[in-house]
Amino acid sequence: MLDTAFEALKKFDWGSDLGALAPIEDAVTAAHGKPEARHEVETRLVTALQGELSRDAREYVCRKLAIVGTAACVPGLAPLLVNPESSHMSRFALEQIPAPEAAQALRDALSRASGTVKIGIISSLGARRDAASVPPLGELLQDGDAAIARAAALALGAIGSADSAAVLQRSLQAAGGSPAPIVDALLHCAETLMAANKLTEATAIYQAFAQDNQPRLVRLAANRGLLACASKQA
């Protein structure tokens, strides 16, 4: 059954009967909590990915690897990252694979990618809250492409660590103003820090933005943050 399904996958395309792939779906589900079965289905998916597949079939495989994927499938997914057609689904899988190799693959792809593909990779690193990405993302804050710099700021905000906050604060100082993406990112950092009970760090960020020289909405957000921090402490 599974063999037949993988054969069907080779010919699968938009509009094909998804029922033909049901055994793959079942194998993925059955692999939960069973490392050997997981490895087997992962291997078969990677093998399929390396063959000739339609775009729809490739995306199907990526969706399944997002569930069963481990470090072993990263070499199969990494080359897809810089291809505009496949980057999105590759990131979809790599974002969810907990292995550090997945994050490394995303970081490695940064230097090879450009434009929207690069923005997507940056966003995936943020979504993974990958601490090791703080330095490269910090460098991208100075990127000549404003969209990339903005994506880097937001990713650093999503990472929400003391380190990412420090990088953002330095960037704020260098920017000579209060660029909205950096402010947003710092407030995001503060929220994450507060959720992690790092109240001292979170409060420091909020206090900086609660000052009268800040825009009204920023002050409001900061004051709400301060209240939340103080309530948590009380």
Partner: protein, 461 residues
């Protein structure tokens, strides 16, 4: 220049904030309280709301409440009202003194009303006289006092409110009765029963309404003097309806009848007949014979009461009895009363089908002896939502004496889309006739709308 120094200011502020925060670690709730106080004093409503949200839910304890309440005198009216509401929601009685102080000092009607309202949750029995006194005020203060008294908790609140009822002015009595009813103060219902024979009609009505809501069947006999004291007309109808509502709490129909008859027997015989309309409102098989016998008595005055009672029956079970009286009597006035009662009861939208209601109307038309009686039947046929009812009324469009009323009945039935749509072609033809015949612009407009598949909204009175 500012662009250049702004980042430095931010970093310095950030560092300063960090230091302050570390220092504040020793007294974390102080920081929170200070921040809340700063925000509730902010002129920007959104900032203020952020602080008020925390007054409601955070920084627990009397010390913080005291500090928050102390801000009341420092705020503008809008701020005072918002803080009063937050303090009320905080439900810490520590704020009571500040609220009373503000109430004493403020001339602003809305601030005073908000203070009174806050006392409902922050105050206690000691504040009851003040709140009762506020019931005699007008506008928002009275409404706030009413809500406050409804909210106030305490074992003796209902008792104290009932005691106030004895000496208050009619206006305040009215409000107190409403409060006791909303509080569902069944333990104090004797005070409400006493109020049903008050000298002021508005107090009697309020007490009857309250008991209609919270009264028990054990009080039926105690309420009958109140029904008798109610002025005939609107007040009497209302009193009867309230007692009928209490009777309806007795599930068993026979027992309901028995209990009401028992209650009637506690009333002097001379007054009993006046309560027959109430018997009619309660209805039930057991009471049909009781009233039916009276309606067939020799004494015309008693018969009148009996027919009146049957005409108020909640369902059509007495229709035959009324028709029998109408057909047998030789007295034109009694015939008129019984026939009107029959048509009214026959048309009642009870649990019978529309076809059954229509059959009764056809029966009434056969029994009608004058154009006035025929008009009555044509008019009431509108309660049978059935195409057959339209067919029954349609011939009267040809007779100028009945045409206008027939038009009105037809559009009333045509209003119901579920009756109209399955017979659209037939309705369109009849509605064309209505448009041609009717002299009433509203009826013509309705007929045209229904032909177009539109609806019509009855103007609000």
């Amino acid at each position: 220049m500012l662009r250049q120094i702004l980042p430095s200011i931010l970093v310095l502020t950030l560092l300063a904030g960090l230091t302050q925060f570390v220092r504040a670690d020793d007294k974390p709730s102080d920081d929170l309280v200070k921040l809340i106080i700063k925000l509730i004093g902010d002129p920007d409503r959104e900032f203020r709301a952020a602080g008020l949200e925390k007054v409601r839910s955070s920084a627990k304890g009397a010390a913080a409440t005291h500090l928050f309440a102390a801000q009341l005198t420092k705020l503008d009216a809008a701020g005072q009202i918002a803080l009063l509401s937050a303090l009320a929601d905080r439900r810490d009685a520590t704020a009571r003194a500040a609220v009373l102080e503000l109430l004493g000092a403020s001339q602003d009607e809305q601030v005073r009303a908000s203070s009174i309202l806050a006392l409902g949750t922050l105050g206690g029995i000691a504040d009851l006289p003040l709140l009762v006194k506020s019931l005699s005020a007008s506008g928002p203060e009275q409404a706030a006092a009413r809500r406050s008294l409804v909210q106030m908790s305490g074992d003796t609140v209902n008792k104290s409110l009932a005691a106030e009822l004895k000496t208050a002015t009619p206006h305040v009595k009215n409000a107190l009765i409403d409060v006791l009813s909303t509080r569902r103060a069944t333990d104090e219902s004797p005070a409400l029963v006493a109020a049903t024979v008050d000298d002021a009609a508005q107090v009697r009505s309020a007490a009857m309404s309250a008991l209609g809501q919270i009264g028990s069947p054990d009080q039926i006999s105690a309420l009958l003097p109140g029904v008798l004291k109610a002025q005939k007309g609107g007040e009497r109808d209302h009193a009867e309806r309230s007692v009928a509502m209490i009777c309806s709490r007795i599930d068993n129909e026979d027992e309901r009848g028995t209990r009401l008859i028992e209650a009637l027997n506690t009333i002097p015989p001379a007054d009993r007949d006046e309560l027959l309309p109430l018997v009619g409102r309660v209805g039930g098989k057991k009471l049909i014979n009781f009233v039916g016998d009276i309606a067939s008595e020799q004494d015309p005055a008693r018969r009148k009461f009996g027919i009146d009672a049957l005409s108020k029956w909640p369902d059509a079970s007495v229709a035959d009895k009324l028709l029998e009286i109408a057909n047998k009597t030789a007295d034109p006035a009694e015939r008129n009363q019984a026939f009107q009662g029959y048509v009214k009861i026959a048309a009642t939208r009870d649990n019978r089908s529309d076809r059954q209601r229509l059959d009764r109307m056809k029966q009434a038309m056969k029994a009608a002896r004058s154009p006035e009686e025929q008009l009555l039947v044509i008019n009431r046929t509108r309660t049978a939502y059935d195409v057959e009812a339209v067919r029954f009324v349609q011939p009267y469009l040809e007779d100028p004496e009945f045409a206008q009323l027939a038009c009105e009945t037809i559009v009333e039935i045509a209003h119901h889309r579920e009756v109209r749509d399955p017979h659209k072609a037939e309705f369109d033809k009849i509605l064309d006739k209505v448009i041609a015949v009717s002299k009433d612009a509203v009826v013509v407009d309705r007929a045209q709308r229904y032909k177009r598949g539109e609806t019509w909204e009855r103007p609000k009175k």
